[in-house]
Amino acid sequence: MNSVDARRAFEIENDITQTTAQDDIRYFYDDQEQARLRERKPWSQDPNWFKDVHISAVALIKMAMHARSGGSIEIMGSMQGKVADRAFIVMDVFPLPVEGTETRVSAGQAASEFLVTYSTECNQVARRENIIGWYHSHPGYGCWLSGIDVQTQSSHQQYEDPFLAIVIDPVRTISAGKVDLGAFRTYPLQYKPPAEGMNEYQTIPLNKIEDFGVHCNSYYPLEVSYFKSTLDATLLDLLWNKYWARALSTSPLVQSKDYVVQQLTDISNKLKETEKQMEKGNPHGRGGYYLSDKKTLAGKGGGHLDQISKDAQKCCSEHVQSIMSMYIKNAMFSPSHMQN
């Protein structure tokens, strides 16, 4: 493609794009506007300034795949993007070479060097977006910030704001057939959040509840949405024509057997814990009938009976969905079974 061809291609493309320019405008990086915003720093005045996160199609897919590639090990990466009003726009992400353990990831020297080289060189390919956050995975235990995560994120917000934290759970993504992802900002140290229980309810394994409960009021979740370009939409349409068969040929339940067992064990452990507390009774001597005070346990997130019930229902709905598709598939491909 020589330069004339290139230009012509753009002319043609412009006609297509102009009608849907609003969608693709996000892909333009306006450095003047970004510089103005960074100078004005509206987020420094209001701890709740940022409300939304918009994630591009490629960024989402890269994060989901990277998280999955780590298996039960936490992985970590950086996000490139920009800010717009009260929202973060995540354009792209890149993984970092980190040593992860099952409980935490730490970015060492190698990772910081990698980050610096990689992101400065991005200028050369017209990626002028700044680093606007980090993502890491919580394989199988939900999207929230642990104590260490809160520390990491606060120091980022202190020195590199605007900065965003994203957590992705690859195991739940597979078992629920839906990307499990959360985006968070921490509050300043002395700040008291206006309302408790801002964080949407989610299942957290018993052994993590302590960590979750202690820190759950020091950050808040942002509303996450996704966007794609007009060309992406066309290509995705084309892709759908290719692998529609996947929905019929995979079974989330069979793929994540371990996780199912883990979930059930967790529910039973939580029930046992509740029972213990019930036996102990409570200071008011209401032995037997009451579970311990709603406040103490609910505050820790997930200990209370109706939260256990929610966990169980979620697990149940995953099972029911999976068994429904198995029934449908069986009816379609092995009809003789239905007669027995």
Binding site: N14, Y27, V58, Q124, S225, N241, A245, L248, Q313
Partner: protein, 369 residues
């Protein structure tokens, strides 16, 4: 019409072979790569597009170098490296990244090689199993300059590099393909022909030795490709397919979502089956020539039904079903306990309040006698 059918092996995306596993195309593309290339293009296009539709910026800004591409007056090309794995003839393209490339006034493409080498190293640091399998560019045709790049630059990275060309100006978009495929009851040649036309949007090439005028010449010949995705990738792609609209949250419950997904797949399967039925009927009526290879494939697929019909499967299926029902039952019991607990709670609270101060403070689920 029949001619098209007979050229089926060349048909780049044969809808009838979609579900087939290992046979067929030696090139496997991951959706991530397709979207990554698309993203590269869109960002590039937005730089050109934005100054014109925004009143805040004049075209002189562009010349002043606010858009880095234009700073030395050279055109920039949208091209990059494809990463993946290779086993014999099978090439799996898993990832990609962009390269800085300029077109000189003489029409020569210059690639920033230092950048290229470093990026490859960086990616191999993270994805150790990936190697360079080829390169991509955006355009509508392959020029002699592209052939030169292919032979001079990219054969140094891989002895048989793959070339992926994306042509966004291709008139036939995916949705049109789908519409045609849906009208499966109509003339059957339509849905079979459509995919090969849409190859314009995305085509893969490899070097091929051809004897032209008694001279062996290397040419870039189109090679068929197919798509594959790992489970997390598929879920993420599904997710953006359905939810990636500005402001579009997931309002529907996950069960509805799941069933809708399944329904779409079944509809797709049905439309494919209709195509096959129409083809078979036309063959039976003698309207089209016998295509033995296709008939054999259809026979093969039909012979595989029912998919599984043995006692072991029945037993396993029943067990799976029972497990799920037990889980559902457990969840039901837990919920009942929870509700019951709430009722008891209410009663106790009520009886607490009803107790006169200083009276006997017996607390229980029932009011005082």
């Amino acid at each position: 019409m029949t001619g098209k059918l007979h050229s089926a092996p060349q048909c780049e995306i044969d809808p009838l072979r979609d579900g087939a596993n290992d046979e067929g195309a030696p090139i496997i593309l991951h959706p991530l790569v397709v979207l990554n290339v698309s993203d590269h293009y869109t960002r590039f296009a937005a730089i050109r597009l934005f100054p014109r539709i925004s009143s805040r910026r004049s075209s002189t800004d562009v010349e002043k170098g606010i858009i880095p591409f234009a700073e030395d007056g050279k055109e920039t090309r949208v091209l990059g490296i494809l990463l993946g794995t290779q086993r014999g003839r099978m090439v799996e393209v898993c990832h990609s990244f962009e390269l800085p490339a300029r077109v000189t006034h003489e029409g020569r493409t210059e690639i920033e090689e230092a950048f290229m080498v470093r990026r490859i190293e960086q990616y191999q640091q993270i994805f150790a199993k990936y190697i360079v399998v080829g390169w991509y560019f955006i355009g509508d045709k392959i020029t002699p300059e592209d052939k030169r790049l292919h032979a001079e630059v990219f054969t140094r990275l891989n002895e048989a590099p793959l070339l992926l060309v994306m042509n966004p100006t291709s008139k036939l978009s995916g949705s049109q393909v789908k519409l045609r495929a849906k009208g499966g009851a109509g003339p059957i040649v339509e849905p079979m022909k459509a995919p090969s036309q849409s190859a314009g949007l995305l085509t893969t090439y490899q070097m091929e030795l051809k004897v032209m005028a008694d001279k062996p010449t290397m040419t870039l010949a189109p090679v068929p490709h197919r798509y594959a995705s790992e489970d997390s990738e598929r879920i993420a792609v599904d997710h953006v397919m359905r939810h990636a609209v500005p402001g579009g949250g997931d309002g529907a419950s996950s069960t509805t979502l799941h069933l809708n997904n399944l329904k779409r797949s079944i509809n797709m399967l049905e439309s494919r089956i209709k195509v096959i039925v129409a083809f078979l009927e036309a063959t039976a009526r003698g309207e089209i020539e016998l295509n033995h290879s296709l008939l054999r494939q259809i026979g093969g697929v039909c012979a595989r039904l029912p998919a599984l019909d043995c006692a072991e499967f029945s037993a396993a299926f029943a067990e799976e079903k029972h497990d799920s029902m037990v889980v559902a039952y457990l969840s039901g019991v837990t919920k009942s306990i929870c509700s019951l607990n709430e009722v008891v709670d209410m009663f106790n609270r009520f009886s607490d309040r009803a107790t006169p101060v200083g009276g006997s403070r017996r607390r229980g689920p029932f009011p005082r006698q």
